[in-house]
Symmetry: C2
C-alpha cells in the first residue's frame, strides 16, 4: 500500500448517509450529530442538501440545521445544491462550500436528476459561475463511475471527460463515486489514471459505498493510485447491509481504523467518532453497520 503521511476525509454521514435512511431524524439530533463530527476532528462535513423537500424529505430542514450548528474554526460545513435556487438557499444558510452532482451514465443522469449529462453540465456551469462570484468553493460528485444500475459498465473515457468538465467549470475537486457499491479494486487505478490525464491527482477524491464489502480495499487501491481524499460516513450510515439492496457508505470508523493501522494521519479521533455514531444510532431505526463501531464502539461507556 502506498502510505502518504496524511489523507483528507470528507464526512458525508449527515447528508449522503441520512438521505438514504428511511426514518426522519429530528433537526436537533442532526445538529448535535454535526457538532459531534466536528468535535471528532473532521475538517469537512457535508451537513445537508438544499434540494426539493418533496424530492428528499430528510433534507427539508437544511436551513434549520445550518442555523443550529456550532461553527468551528477550520471546519468546512458543506451542502449539496442541485441548481441556482439551491445555491441561493445555501448562501443564505451560510455554507462554507457547495457540492454539485453529475453522473457518468446517461440513463442514471436522466433517472436521478431528470436531465441529460450535457444539460446538467450546462446548468452546473451557471451554478459554478454564481458560486465563484460569491467566493464559494465548489466540490463535484460524479456518480456511477464504477458501474450503473441501468447501463452496467460505464466507459472510462466518458468518466474522464465528465470529470474534466466539472473541474474546468470551477470545481476544486471531483469525487469519483461508486453509487451502487459495485466497484472492485481492479477498477480503481485505470479510472483514476484516466481522470488524472485531465486533472491533477490532488483534485480527485474517491467515494465508495460498502454494499459488497469492497470499500476499504478500494481505498487501498486509491492510495496506491495516489489519491489522498476519501469520503466516508459515520457508522456506515446510509442503509443497513442486512437489507437487500441497501447501499451503506464506507464507514468512517472502519476507514480511520485502517488508516491508523498503517500510520496515515487523518486528524479524526476514533473514540470521538464513536460518540457521534452512538448519538445518531437510536434515531435511524437499525444498528449502524460499521464493523469497527460494532466491535469496539457501540457498547462502550
Amino acid at each position: 500500500m502506498n502510505i502518504p503521511a496524511s489523507v483528507r476525509l470528507v464526512e458525508v454521514g449527515p447528508r449522503d448517509g441520512l438521505q438514504n435512511e428511511a426514518t426522519q431524524v429530528p433537526t436537533t439530533v442532526k445538529i448535535a450529530f454535526v457538532n459531534a463530527l466536528a468535535a471528532a476532528g473532521h475538517s469537512t462535513i457535508e451537513v445537508s442538501a438544499f434540494v426539493s423537500p418533496r424530492w428528499v424529505p430528510q433534507m427539508a430542514d437544511a436551513a434549520e440545521v445550518f442555523a443550529g450548528i456550532e461553527r468551528r474554526d477550520g471546519v468546512r460545513y458543506t451542502a449539496l445544491v442541485p441548481n441556482l435556487a439551491g445555491l441561493e438557499r445555501a448562501q443564505k444558510a451560510g455554507v462554507s462550500e457547495i457540492a454539485i452532482f453529475a453522473a457518468a451514465s446517461e440513463t442514471f443522469s436522466q433517472r436521478n436528476i431528470n436531465q441529460s449529462i450535457s444539460a446538467s453540465l450546462e446548468a452546473y456551469a451557471v451554478v459554478c459561475r454564481h458560486a465563484a462570484a460569491a467566493r464559494l468553493p465548489v466540490r463535484a460528485y460524479l456518480s456511477t463511475v464504477f458501474g450503473c444500475p441501468f447501463e452496467g459498465d460505464v466507459p472510462i473515457p466518458t468518466v474522464a471527460a465528465v470529470a474534466a468538465q466539472l473541474i474546468e467549470m470551477g470545481a476544486y475537486e471531483v469525487a469519483l463515486s461508486d453509487t451502487i457499491g459495485i466497484a472492485h479494486p481492479g477498477q480503481v487505478a485505470p479510472i483514476v489514471d484516466a481522470v488524472a490525464k485531465h486533472v491533477s491527482r490532488q483534485q480527485i477524491a474517491l467515494h465508495f459505498h460498502d454494499t459488497r464489502g469492497m470499500a476499504l480495499v478500494n481505498v487501498s487501491a486509491g492510495l496506491d493510485a495516489g489519491v489522498t481524499t476519501f469520503d466516508s460516513s459515520a457508522g456506515g450510515l446510509g442503509g443497513c447491509p442486512y437489507a437487500p439492496g441497501a447501499t451503506g457508505n464506507l464507514a468512517t470508523e472502519d476507514l480511520v481504523y485502517m488508516l491508523n493501522g498503517v500510520g496515515i494521519q487523518t486528524g479524526v479521533e476514533l473514540e470521538r467518532l464513536f460518540d457521534a455514531s452512538r448519538l445518531i444510532e437510536p434515531h435511524v431505526g437499525h444498528a449502524l453497520p460499521s464493523r469497527v463501531y460494532r466491535a469496539d464502539g457501540s457498547h462502550t461507556r
Copy 2:
C-alpha cells in the same frame, strides 16, 4: 496490489465457521453443505474437527459428516485434530489431511488448549510423526498472531519462532491467524516477512476474521507480501457481526468477488458459492454476514 495468476483458497466454513455458531446444525445439512462447497470449486475444505464433543458440541458428528460426504477427485477434505486420539478418529474417518492448532500467545494457549506453547508443540510433534507414518499431510494454524485478547500485542519474534517450529515438525503450511479480527494491513508485511525468514512464502497462509471489516484489505496486504493461500468461510459463517464480540470469518464470497475483480483465479464460482450459503443460512439462526452474498446472492432464486 500484487496480482498473482491464481491463489489457493481454504474453505473453513464447515469447521471454523460452524464451530462458532450457537445453533446446532443437523448432520445431513452439514454433509450437503460440504458437497455444495466442493461443487462450487473448492479444492480444500475443512470439514470438521475430531475434538472432544464436550468441548465443541457442534463438531460431535465429525465421523458421520465424513461418512456422508461425496468425495470428489482433486478435493482435500480436512479436519482439525488436537491430539493422537483425534488423529486416530480422523484416520478412521478417511480425512485427506489434518490440521493442528497452536497459539503465539502463552495466555491464549493456556486458555484455548490448556497447555503452554512449548507443551503443545511437543504434543503436536508426536501427532506429526504419526501423521507422516500414515502419509497424512498436516496443516498448522497459528492463532493470535496479530493480537491476543488477553496479552494484546504478540511479539513478532515469537510468532516467527513458533511458525518455524510448526513447519519443522512437518506441517506443509502454517496459517497465520487473526483470531479476534483485530489485524490491520500495516501488520501484515512485517509479520509475513519475519516468518518468511524461517520458512518459504509458499508455506505461509493467512487466516483473517472480519470483525472490524479489515479482512479483505489484509488479504490485499498479504498478496503484496507474496502470500498466495487464504482461508475464508462461505457466507462469512462464524458469528454475526451485528452481535457484540462476534468474530465472523472472512466471507468466501467477498474474497472471490475481490479476486475476480483484479483477475486472480481461484477456481471457485461465485454463483455456486451462493448456493452453498443459501443451503446453510436457514440453519444458523441469523442472516449470513457476507456483503456480496447479501447484495447479490441471498435473495436470488
